[in-house]
C-alpha cells in the first residue's frame, strides 16, 4: 500500500466527531450527507428516536453547510435574499428562514444566526455558496465565507439536554429562550450554544473549534452518562422532525434550483411557511411572485394528516373519495408516530380539495404480498408533537 490510498479521492470525508461516532456505530449503518460519512443509525433507530423524546441524544451537524456573512452590507444582503425580515433579528438570536427564486419557488431553508451587528452565520442542509454569491451582486462591503469545515457542530436534543449542559458546567444555560445564542468559556476556549434544533423538543446546538471537538464530545458524554445520552442518526431525526411538522428537503420539498419539471418545486405558501414571508419589507428575491400568490392563494398546500389505522402511508396517492374518483395529492413523508400513537403524514394536496374528504391509498406487504387499503385522513392543524417543555424558559431538567 505504501501508505497511499488509491481510492482516497472517492472516499467520503469524515466529520470532526467521527472517531467517537465510529466506535458507537455498532450496526455499521452509514449513509452520506454533503460528502461526509453520516450515520443512518448507531444502535437502533427506534431507540435513538426515544432518546430524543425521553432522555437526550446528539446529532452530528458538521455536514450541515455553514457560511459566515459579514460586513456593513451583510444585513441588507441577507434581507434581500430571504423572505423573512432579517433587520428585526437581534444580536445573539437565530431565525429560521427560507429563500426563493424570482418565481417565488423555494431554494432551501436554514437558520440565520446573528453573531454581531455586522456578522451572520447561515446554516443550511445543502451547499448554497453559488446562490449566496449571486445574491450578493451589488453589495460591496460584504464577505461570504464557507466555514463548514472550521466549525464542529453537534446538536443535543431531548428533555434532559438542558440538565446535561448544566452538568457540563454551562451556568445559566437554562435561561436561554428558544432561538437564543450564548457563549460560554469552555476548555480554555469559547463554546457557542444556541437553543435550536430539528426535533420539536427541548434542545440545543453546540458550536466549537474543530480542534476541541473530541474533547467536547467526551466531556458531554461524561456529563450525560446519567441522563441517557446517545448518538442518533438520520432515521431518528426524520421521525422526530416529522412529528414536529418540520419539512425535509428531497422529501417534503424539492429545491427549486434542482427541480426539472415546471412548478414541481414549491413556494413558501404551499409549504405553509407564509409566516416567514414579509411582503411589507423592501424588495427581496421572489417578492413579486409571492405577493401574487398570496393574493390568489397557493395551488397546493402541505398538510399534516392524521390517518386512520396503522399502515404507514409512505408514497401514497391522496384521493377525494374512498373510491378514488379524483387524485388530489400525494404523501411526502409518513410514519407511525410512537410518541402520539398516531399514523401521521405530511402530504401535498391541491388546495381547492382541502375541504372535502381526503383518502390515502396505502399498500403494505404481509409476507411479501402487498395488500391495499384506503384510509380516511383528517387534517391536523397543530404539529403532532409539541410539548410545553420545548418552549418553557427556564428549561426544565427532564
Amino acid at each position: 500500500m505504501n501508505g497511499i490510498d488509491p481510492y482516497a479521492g472517492e472516499r467520503l470525508k469524515l466529520t470532526h466527531f467521527h472517531p467517537r461516532e465510529e466506535a458507537l456505530n455498532l450496526r455499521n449503518a452509514w449513509g452520506a450527507w454533503n460528502g461526509y460519512k453520516f450515520a443512518n443509525c448507531y444502535y437502533d433507530a427506534e431507540y435513538e428516536y426515544f432518546c430524543i423524546r425521553n432522555q437526550c441524544g446528539t446529532y452530528d451537524i458538521c455536514p450541515m453547510q455553514k457560511y459566515e456573512i459579514s460586513g456593513r452590507h451583510a444585513e441588507a444582503m441577507l434581507d434581500r435574499m430571504v423572505t423573512r425580515n432579517i433587520r428585526k433579528l437581534g444580536v445573539n438570536r437565530v431565525a429560521y428562514a427560507v429563500w426563493c427564486t424570482d418565481e417565488g419557488r423555494l431554494i432551501d431553508d436554514g437558520t440565520i444566526f446573528r453573531l454581531a451587528e455586522d456578522r451572520y452565520m447561515l446554516a443550511c442542509g445543502s451547499p448554497c455558496i453559488a446562490w449566496l454569491r449571486k445574491s450578493a451582486y451589488g453589495f460591496e462591503d460584504l464577505l461570504i465565507e464557507d466555514v463548514t469545515e472550521s466549525i464542529a457542530a453537534l446538536s443535543l436534543q431531548g428533555p434532559t439536554s438542558c440538565a446535561v449542559l448544566k452538568k457540563l458546567g454551562l451556568a445559566g444555560v437554562e435561561n436561554l429562550k428558544p432561538f437564543d445564542i450564548a457563549h460560554f468559556a469552555f476548555l480554555g476556549d469559547t463554546l457557542m450554544v444556541s437553543r435550536t434544533g430539528f426535533t420539536g423538543d427541548l434542545g440545543y446546538e453546540l458550536w466549537i473549534r474543530p480542534e476541541l471537538a473530541l474533547e467536547m464530545w467526551d466531556a458531554l458524554y461524561a456529563a450525560g452518562a446519567d441522563y441517557g445520552i446517545q448518538p442518533y442518526g438520520e432515521m431518528a431525526t426524520n421521525m422526530a422532525r416529522l412529528e414536529a411538522g418540520f419539512i425535509m428537503p428531497h422529501m417534503d420539498f424539492t429545491e427549486a434550483l434542482k427541480t426539472v419539471l415546471f412548478e414541481h418545486d414549491q413556494t413558501p405558501y404551499e409549504l405553509q411557511l407564509g409566516w416567514l414571508v414579509d411582503l411589507d419589507k423592501p424588495h427581496f428575491s421572489g417578492k413579486r411572485a409571492l405577493a401574487e400568490e398570496h393574493r390568489r392563494g397557493p395551488e397546493w398546500t402541505l398538510v399534516k394528516l392524521d390517518i386512520e389505522g396503522n399502515w404507514p402511508a409512505e408514497g401514497s396517492i391522496i384521493y377525494d373519495s374512498e373510491r378514488c374518483r379524483r387524485d388530489i395529492g400525494y404523501v411526502t413523508s409518513a410514519m407511525w408516530s410512537p410518541a402520539v400513537k398516531g399514523n401521521v403524514a405530511l402530504a401535498m394536496v391541491r388546495t381547492r380539495y382541502l375541504d372535502g374528504e381526503i383518502w390515502a391509498e396505502i399498500y403494505k406487504p404481509r409476507d411479501l404480498r402487498p395488500y391495499r387499503r384506503m384510509a380516511r385522513c383528517r387534517i391536523s392543524k397543530r404539529p403532532f408533537w409539541s410539548p410545553p417543555r420545548a418552549r418553557a424558559t427556564p428549561a426544565g431538567d427532564y
Binding site: 427506534e46 426515544f50 423524546r53 446519567d226 400513537k341 427532564y398
Partner: protein
Amino acid sequence: MSRYDAIVIGAGHNGLTNAAYLAKAGLKVVVVEKNDYIGGAAVSRELHEGWTYSNCSYVCSMMRQAIHRDLELSRHGLILVPYLGTVNFGNGDERLFSYHDDQAAYLELKRHSSHDADAMYRFRADLTRYSQLIRKTLMRTPPDPVGFRPRDIREFVWLAKKFWALGEKEIYEYVRFFTISAADFLADYFENDLIKGAMASPGIIGTALGVYSPGSAYILLHHVMGDVDGNIGAWGLARGGMGAISKSIASALQEFGGEIRTNAGVRKIRVRKGRANGVVLENGDELSSRIVVSNLDARRTFTRILDREDLPEGIYEKARNFKIRGSSGKVNIALSGLPKFTGLPDSRYINRGGQAFTGTLETMERAYDCWKRGRWSDDPFVESIIPSAWDPTVAPPGQHWMSNFVQYCPPQLADGPWTPEKRDAFGRTVVDKIERYSPGFRDLIVHMEVRTPHEIENEIGLTEGNIFQGELTIDQLFFNRPFPGYGQYRMPVRNLYMCGSSTHPGGGVSAVCGANAAREILMDLRRPNTVPEDDFHDE
C-alpha cells in the same frame, strides 16, 4: 344524595377507561376509589423522597394503541418508551442477551445453540400467527355460545372465518396450544436449557402454575402478544411510571366531565328488585345511579360487596370458586447506583434492559414446588427491570430503582398468617438471590418496598394478590370469563356490569376490559358508541 348515570367502583386503569368512555358519551359518571390515590395496580408512588416506584405492574405492552390514540393519552401526558432486551441469568455463569437487532439476536442464540438459533425463526412465526388471531379478539365482546342472538351468531361466524383462514393444521395446533404446558410447547423448538428457561418464564408470570403445568403455554402467549408500536412481543415503560397511564386516562375522563372520588371505598352495591341502583360507601354515604360498574375482581365483587340474597342461585358459589390464586410478590428497591452483574460485558445497553433470573425449567419448577407447600420459593424466579436507566423522572440522576417481580409467593403460608417479619424475610430471599449475581448489590440499597400477596390484596384489593384478577386458564377465558354465561360484561344482577381484568380478555395493562364493557353498556343504554375498534384487525 347525588344521582349519577353510572358509578364505577375502583379507579384502576380499566375502571378509569370505562368511565372515560361513558363520560365521552355524555353520561354523568363517578369513579369511586377506596385509596387516597388512583391507579389500582397501574400506580406510581413516591414512598422514599426522590424515587417513584411503579409499585405493582411495572412494564406494559398490552395497552391498546387504538385506546391510547382515541383518548389522546399522549396529549394527557402519557409516553410509552420501549426498552431494549432482557438478560437471562442461568444458574451458573451462562447469560443470554436479547437484542432488537435481528443479526445480533441470531448471533447471540447461536452462541448457545445453532439449533435453537435456527428454530427461533419458526418459533417467532408460529407465535406471531397465534398472537395475531388472539389479538383480533381483544377489543371484541366474546360471543355467547348458547346465546343464538344474531350478534352472537355473527361473531361466531367471524371467528370461524378467521380460524379457517389459518389453514387446517392450525386448528389442531390452537387446541393443543391452549391446553399444553409452556415446557411441552417449547420442547418442540428448543434444546438449550437456558434458552428454554428464558422463553418459558412468561408462561408462569402471575399464575399459580408451573412451567410443566398444562395451560401455561397460553399464558406465555398472553405475555408476548402485546406490542409497542407494532413490534409484537416488545415491552415498554410508561414515562413517569405505570401510574402515568392511570393519570392520563383520569385526565381524559375529567376532560369529558367525569368525576373521581378517592377515599371512597364501597361497602355494598345497592340492589332493589333485582336491579343495581347505587352504592353505599364505607363512610355510610349513598350514591344512586342507573347502572353500577365494578372494576373489582369477580370474587371480591360477588362475595364482598354484594349481598348473597341479591344474587341469583349459584353465583355466589361460582365467585367463591373463581380461580384467583396469588402466586407472586413484588420487591421495589431504591438504589444509590446502577448495580453491576457478573458475566455481563461493560456495555452501555445490556446492563440497562431487564434482568430475568430464570435459571432452567427445573429451577422454576422447584420454585413452584415451594408455593404448593405454602412457602415462598427459596430460589425464586425473579424478573427485574431498572426503569430509572430509561426514565429520567423516577429517580435522582445517577441513582436508580429496581423493580423485582418474584415467583412464587403464596397468599397463605403453611406456618400461619403473614407477619411483617415474614414479609421482610421474603424480601431478604429476593435480595440474596440478586446478590448472587451482583456482588455488592445489598450495599446499594437505599429503600425497599416488599409486597407479598397479602400486601397486594390489602392495599389495592386484588384477591389473593392475583395480578390478573383471576387466572388466565382456558376454563376462565373468552366467553367463560369470569363465569360461563356472563362473558359479555353484564352480570347476573340487572344494571350491574364488570369492567376489570376478571372479564375478557383478562389481565394486563391493556385498558381493553374497561373499553369493551363501556361499549356494551352504551349499547344497553341506547347511546351512540364512543369506543374505537382495534387498529389491528387486519394487521
